[in-house]
Amino acid sequence: MHNTTIAAIATSLGTSGISIIKLSGCEAFAICDRLFVCPGGFLSKAPNTITYGKIVDPATGETVDKVLVSKMQAPRTYTGEDVVEINCHGGMLVTRRVLQLVLNAGALPAEPGEFTKRAFMNNKMDLLEAEATMDLIGAKADKAAKVAIQQMEGALSKELGQLADSLANVCAKIDLSTDFDELDSFDYGPQNVARELGPVREGLKRLAGTFDSGRKIRDGLLVVICGRPNAGKSSLLNRMLGEERAIVTDIPGTTRDTVEEAISLGGYMVRFVDTAGLRQGDSLDPVEKIGIDRAYAKMESADMIIYMIDMCGDLDKQVQEAQEMCQKYGENTPMVIVANKVDMCGEEEAIKLLNNIQGAQLTSITLSALNGLGLDKLQDVILKQCATEDDLMGQGILVNERQKQLVQRAIAHLDRAVIAGNAGIPLDVLYTEISSGVQALNELTGRYIDMEAIDKMFSSYCVGK
């Protein structure tokens, strides 16, 4: 279908030892041959080999870089087309120059996601696998990559396939029972349907439940750090990051907006959000007030909230505030109360203080953000929130909003079918709910998709993959 050859820099845009320029398309070999000089010539090389040589600017005859070039022949390549990868040894400047030469020689610059789009179109992967590939490329931590690989290998497709088969089986029985008067001894009624839909619903609900875990793995665990101004939140964040990213000063309210940083903790991505200090009163300037509103908004979507008490500050007010936070968010969100600055104000007093605060999912830790005391304990607590995801390894996981919404739509229809079945609604009537459920699953697996959805999906994805 494609008579164009596309090219892009496939490695991340930054200084690194090696940069790769990738070409895909029917002209990939010919284009490479125009620039690449090696003994015997590039076209004579066998497929699936790597050749050492140099990139020469055809216009000037100047050697631009010494490179390794991989030659991969269609159809057994990532995109299903002829693929060439040029491994440049130079820095970014040289890499960009090589790309420019490739483009001058006849390749077109790849659009975002176009390599994967071609792979998808060449039947190299199904829609769910393509989505997973995009996740893999976006993955910032080991675990995310692992999950993505798993989905790419079809864990979700397989699981959905089994659920769809069960639904098809129910539908077939309904058809048999409604269409064939002769098979009157085939006793299959609305109640049977309600019963048989049970396991399918459970399977779908399990999948829907994985969305949250999938999201945590993909986007990272969202940890909000909050507390009174100057409690040491920014210091803690810096400690975790190991670099001065948030602004730390002695003036209360320095952190006016939320600051977010992602770190890799035990293979998981954790996103820390430092909120504006929760200061109340009339002295707030409008900018500061916006910061506080944002802090509250962040807490609503947090996977974990750390409330930091300044042991050198006004303890009564802070304990009261911590207690309020526990009540407000503790039901839905794990809370950690951290008593900071124990290096200055004494650990025993801090422990006593922490014992007074009650909450549903509460952990208390004494800490010194300054010298790192208690930091390992805090990291353990955070990892515990991530570690449950290990349970999900090996199973289908929903990784994006599109998938989640479709599964939820399917569940809603099946729920209604079960209610209808138990109420004795005739089979041909409740069938409409089941078929709507099937339709949602078909959209999920790509049996039914619209063009906009495809374009949107592939363009949200970086160039060069």
């Binding site: 494609h2 299903g80 179109m121 039947n123 005739p426």
Partner: protein, 624 residues
């Protein structure tokens, strides 16, 4: 010697159920039409069961009627018993089925055809079919040399085309009921490049009434229901049917002789009983079932012949007799006509458009069993569509099609032209994705406007139709707005029925949505209920009761229509389109679907293929 026998607008070849509807539609739309029949006494014959309707088929009859066809009216006028099937199931599968006086039906239809202006019924086989020299019209040639010219030809040859009868080891060239087969036309079609298949179907024995012991059988009486046609006044129940069962002994006889059955190939293809099977098929496919239903049905009021429904067979004659006599009530049965299988030529229906015109032959249409379907109703449904489109083409008007969301006619034709038939195609409600919308009660609402547009619906009927739709809407609105009183008497009603008391101020519509309550039940709360015709009441009840589900299905139709709007350009080069699976590419190239939605339903076209098509379309759009 050939001679020029005349020139008309439309010629219909074959006067069975498809042919009669096609010819009537074309003539009524103002086209000069000739309807050819091999035998004047075989017009609108019912060579198999003496009944019209049944699950899915009853829907088709109503839809044919809504388009302005004749089958429903003829069935109503000649029925001897009628029942509504599947009452215990749900509204989508309620289906009318009538026992028909076979002879009277034929006479009735023949006379309607004879009396229709613009229409000539002519006995004569068509042995050659060819284009006129200028390529503008078609010539149909009879064995006696008559060359009839027409702008459009509709082939409705049924099981006559190169037909042969098989009973066990006996085989004979013949059409059904001993009428001679159509020979020669198949070759003419091959010459035109038309691909032909060979299909088989079968029919059971006819037995003598006096040899049946009805006392051992369950009697089945007719019911007082609505007739098929929206123009008929009522129904007739003057005959009874009887039910008995096969048993282990019957099945043993079949198993012992299965090797002698020509119809039974020994291969089980497909899943489930997807079509009207012979008794040997049923026994072999469902070895766990210890018995199968057998209905004994009269062929008419002036005959002693009885039809043995459920025992269709092509086993040798003596095995058929042995098998029948093993059944309770048939111990001493005397056979009057032996059951047989019939083999006939039909076309590969993938060669047709949804107007039933051949894609490669302008002005040539085909309908009925020649398209690979089975059943009188399926034939009539295609017949009227082909007839209407032949006439529309002659008149230079836009074609008329029915889509899958509009009727079983649409489902039937769309299945034939996009997925094709590899065995005689029988309509079933499960073939529709939207069966809750395609009910028999609302066939008029769905298709009368199309019939009117074609010119087959009279002013009188059109006004009656509009009035009925108005009444339905008014009554539905009224039920939604009417609130339930709170008197003690009402509470008692619910307690007595053992059902939960409703909340104060609930509407009658909500009450009707309870599965356990009917429109009739809630009359006690409904002081202002107007006096409405039964068919209006029926439809209101279903539409209110299942409104949520109906809405659900309407949303599905929206999605379907959206995909249906994505048209596939005619110049798509599927064979060289990289990314398509080999099978997908071959099928797409052969069938050349008109829309992406159709492509999606072609067997062998995989989801990934659809994605490739979507992206190809996007690419084309981007290039423009």
């Amino acid at each position: 010697m050939e001679y020029s026998a005349g020139k008309v607008d439309v010629i219909v070849v074959g006067a069975g159920h498809a042919g009669c509807e096609a010819a009537l539609a074309a003539a009524r739309m103002g086209c000069q039409t000739i309807l050819f029949t091999i035998n004047m006494d075989a017009v609108a014959n019912l060579p198999c069961n003496p009944s019209i309707g049944g699950t899915g088929k009853g829907h088709l009859v109503r839809e044919v009627d809504a388009l302005g066809g004749e089958m429903g009216k003829a069935a109503d006028a000649n029925m001897i018993q009628i029942r509504m099937l599947n009452r215990g199931k749900g509204p989508a599968v309620f289906s009318l089925r009538a026992q028909i006086d076979r002879r009277r039906y034929q006479e009735h239809m023949k006379q309607v055809v004879e009396q229709t202006p613009n229409l000539l019924l002519r006995q004569g086989e068509i042995i050659d079919l060819r284009r006129t020299e200028d390529g503008e019209a078609w010539e149909c040639v009879t064995p006696t040399g008559g060359v009839y010219t027409a702008k459009a030809v509709v082939l409705t040859t049924g099981t006559y085309l190169a037909g042969s009868i098989i009973v066990g080891e006996y085989k004979q060239t013949s059409g059904p009921d001993g009428i001679h087969a159509a020979i020669g036309l198949s070759d003419a079609m091959r010459k035109l490049g038309i691909t032909l298949f060979r299909f088989k179907t079968g029919t059971p024995c006819r037995v003598s009434r006096r040899s049946v012991d009805f006392s051992k059988m369950e009697i089945q009486e007719g019911e007082d229901v609505e007739p098929f046609s929206y123009e008929s006044k009522g129904v007739t129940n003057s005959a009874s049917c009887y039910l008995t069962w096969t048993n282990e002994n019957t099945h043993n006889i079949i198993r012992e002789n299965i090797g002698r059955s020509p119809l039974y190939s020994g291969k089980i293809s497909g899943i489930g009983p997807r079509y009207c099977p012979s008794i040997e098929d049923k026994v072999m496919r469902f070895p766990d079932r210890l018995r199968h239903q057998v209905f004994i049905e009269p062929l008419g009021m002036n005959t002693e012949e009885m039809y043995v429904q459920g025992m269709s067979s092509s086993l040798p004659e003596e095995v058929q007799l042995q098998m029948l006599r093993s059944i309770e009530g048939l111990e001493n049965v005397e056979v009057m006509r032996t059951g047989y299988a019939i083999e006939y030529d039909c076309i590969d229906s993938l060669q047709l458009r949804s107007t039933l015109e051949f894609k490669k032959h302008k002005g040539l249409f085909s309908a009925g069993q020649i398209n690979g379907s089975s059943g009188y109703e399926e034939a009539a449904a295609q017949g009227i569509v082909a007839g209407i489109n032949a006439a529309l083409q002659v008149q230079g008007r836009e074609p008329m099609t029915v889509d899958r969301s509009e009727g079983y006619i649409g489902v039937l034709i769309d299945d034939l032209v996009t997925t094709g038939a590899d065995e005689p195609y029988r309509i079933m409600t499960s073939r529709s994705e939207y069966r809750l919308l395609l009910r028999q009660d609302n066939a008029d609402a769905r298709l009368t406007p199309k019939g009117r547009e074609a010119g087959l619906i009279s002013d009188e009927r059109w006004n009656a139709f509009l009035e009925k739709q108005e009444l339905i809407q008014q009554e539905m609105d009224r039920l939604e707005a009417a609130h339930l009183g709170t008197g003690a008497k009402f509470q008692e009603f619910f307690d007595e029925r053992g059902t939960a008391r409703p909340q104060n101020g609930t509407t009658l519509a909500n009450l009707l949505r309870r599965p356990e309550l009917t429109y009739k039940d809630i009359e006690v709360f409904d002081k202002k209920r107007p006096d409405l015709p039964q068919n209006v009441q029926n439809e209101v009840e279903i539409r209110v009761k299942y409104s949520g589900y109906i809405k659900n299905q309407q949303e599905q139709v929206e999605a379907f229509k959206k995909n249906q709007q994505i048209r596939l350009p005619e110049d798509m080069d599927y064979i060289n389109m990289s990314g398509l699976s080999k099978e997908g590419a071959t099928k797409l190239d052969k069938i050349r679907p008109e829309t992406l939605e159709q492509a999606n339903r072609i067997t062998g076209v995989r989801p990934a293929d659809i994605s490739v098509l979507l992206i190809e379309l996007a690419r084309r759009k981007g290039q423009k």
